[in-house]
């Protein structure tokens, strides 16, 4: 375990993201004497007001990361900078996204080892399991990552997870690494695919399927990243609360409608919706048919049963309006 007083400098990659900023705030409170360095390709945003945080806008390239690690001594590194495929909307960035998520992750991990970082936290996602017709309820950490078999869009996400996992086990004696695969993170500060889908009235909703979903509040997720990772030993962890709601119920709680159509039309309508700028990736369509619920027992073993503070339905309610 890394002692509190040993943490002097923390690196957060992807600090412009809502979850990263929440995490930074919590880290600043947890380690008041530590310096936090937040990097991103994007600007800092309006709300990045964290004590002891230095924001550096960098290009995600080998040279900029090497310079970053050479000029700082990091005790904790948070890799929260996975570029989501919503970026596909911006033409020409697809290759860069894949390059950063896959090759960039490998580089960051190697630099952590080279510059003797004490602990690395990688934020992956439960999307890596894929929404497959024979998914069991619940999917464990050891289950195969099948998303890339079906969705090319998620290939880089799966590859990033695999690279991190292999690297973690290979270097488990030298560096403590935690890989988190959270369920759908929701909250007013998060702007991921599922948040956009849940809040939008102009998205297709299946009338003949209604799978169960797990949602984690952004604040709970930030707590896992700060308080939680302190208690977790090296390993891969699914992160999800015990609660679950169906997709229709979730939209109902939020108060967004969407238009109900049979599932066989969903893919085509999602394609039309995409053209109007309302992002609905192809892979999301299957998540609206087959449940992809994850098993949280490994995480609960270390964090306890009552770690999460937020009720899923109340969290969804906060998204309304």
């Amino acid at each position: 375990m890394v002692k509190k007083e040993e943490v002097k400098t923390i690196l957060i990659i992807g600090i412009a993201g809502g979850l990263a900023q929440l995490t930074a705030k919590k880290l600043a409170r947890k380690y008041p004497g530590a310096r936090i360095v937040g990097v991103d390709t994007r600007g800092p945003g309006k709300n990045l007001n964290v004590k002891n945080l230095t924001f550096i806008q960098i290009r995600y390239t080998r040279s900029s990361f090497e310079a970053l690690f050479r000029n700082n001594v990091f005790d904790l590194v948070y890799h929260l900078g996975r570029i989501p495929n919503t970026i596909l909307l911006i033409e020409g960035l697809e290759k860069k996204r894949v390059k950063f998520n896959v090759i960039g992750t490998n580089l960051i991990l190697d630099l952590c080892l080279k510059f003797m970082v004490k602990k690395v936290v990688v934020l992956s996602t439960s999307y890596v399991y894929g929404a497959i017709s024979d998914n069991p309820v619940f999917i464990c950490e050891d289950d195969p990552l099948r998303a890339s078999l079906k969705y090319p869009d998620l290939h880089d996400v799966v590859e990033m997870d695999r690279i991190s996992s292999n690297w973690m086990w290979k270097n488990r004696d030298s560096i403590k690494t935690i890989i988190l695969r959270p369920c759908h993170i929701v909250g007013p500060n998060i702007n991921n695919t599922i948040n956009q889908y849940l809040k939008s009235d102009y998205v297709p909703v299946p009338m003949d399927f209604n799978p169960m979903f797990q949602f984690i509040d952004e604040d709970d997720m930030a707590r896992v990243l700060t308080v939680g990772v302190e208690k977790l030993p090296t390993g891969v962890y699914n992160v999800a609360p015990d609660e679950y709601v169906s997709i229709l119920q979730a939209k109902k709680i939020i108060g967004s409608s969407g238009f109900r159509i049979p599932f066989f039309l969903l893919g085509s309508v999602a394609g039309i919706v995409r053209k109007f700028g309302n992002f609905m990736p192809e892979y999301l369509v299957d998540y609206l048919k087959f449940a992809c619920l994850i098993d949280n027992s490994s995480m609960k073993k270390y964090l306890g049963k009552d770690f999460f503070r937020h009720d899923t339905k109340k969290t969804l309610k906060r998204l309304s309006g």
Binding site: S133, D134, N135, P136, V137, F138, D208, F209, N210, P211, M212, Y244, S246, P262, F263, F264, K289, F290, A291, L293
Partner: protein, 300 residues
Amino acid sequence: MLNEFIKGIKYFKMTTADEKKISSVIRNLKKRYEDNSDPWGLDLGFIEKFYHIMFPLYRKYFQVKVHGKSNVGQKQYMVVSNHSGQIAVDGLLISMAFALEMRNPRMLRAMVERFVSAMPFIGDMMSRYGSVLGERKNCEWLLKRDESVLIFPEGIKGVAKDTKDFYKLKPFTKGFFRLALAHDVDILPVAVVGAEEFYPYVKHFRSLAKLMKLPIFPVTPLFPFLGPLGLLPMPSPVDIYIGKPYTIPKKLSHNAIDSLVDNHIKNIRTDIKSMLKEGLSKRRTSPLFDKLGIDVKRSL
């Protein structure tokens, strides 16, 4: 004609006693399922509405009779049954019997084929009714949660029989017994008599099913000629026989070699076979079958 139609509607109307029974069962089930649902999609609100439609049909259309209720204790079981009737109405009737006819109502979690879960509307309705994709891990999770599961070890081959094969048990798969061993859950053998006659004459076109990428393609005098209407089951009276619980051997490992497991599976199969034999000898018939000259007194 109109009068007869109204009479028919009234015949299938819920009685006050039925309504009270359903309310009491749902109240009981609510204690078990927080928030009226579970991760597999069970929806008690839906089940309550569904029972309001189905219970009169269960009693008056299918005239279900349950034998051997005293064999069911207040505990978790793996219910293992023969499969019949082309569209798996037997599973629905067994689960209704365990929810509505037992002193301690339980929702049996029927393990269903993958193609059923992926069917529009039907997959969703089955999940809401408590059915679960027949995948080993799902079954394990359910057993860990003290749920009772309903398994048809004949699989799809059991439900899709030609008329000449009615009530002839297909070979049982072994997975269910190993799961019962691993979780130390007693097996309750069940035999359903009457469901095969939902479609008295059936011929399966297996190569056509393969060509159309369907799991089965039954042809009956009414299906596919009348479209979905042809799928409506005939009013064949159904008898559900519940056998004595098959106690799981304590010393046998769930990883034991096949030959050790085979004997037990054979015993369970024999139990079901003898219940089927007994059921067929006491087979009830319906006035409609008599009129149509359909002989339901078939032998094993």
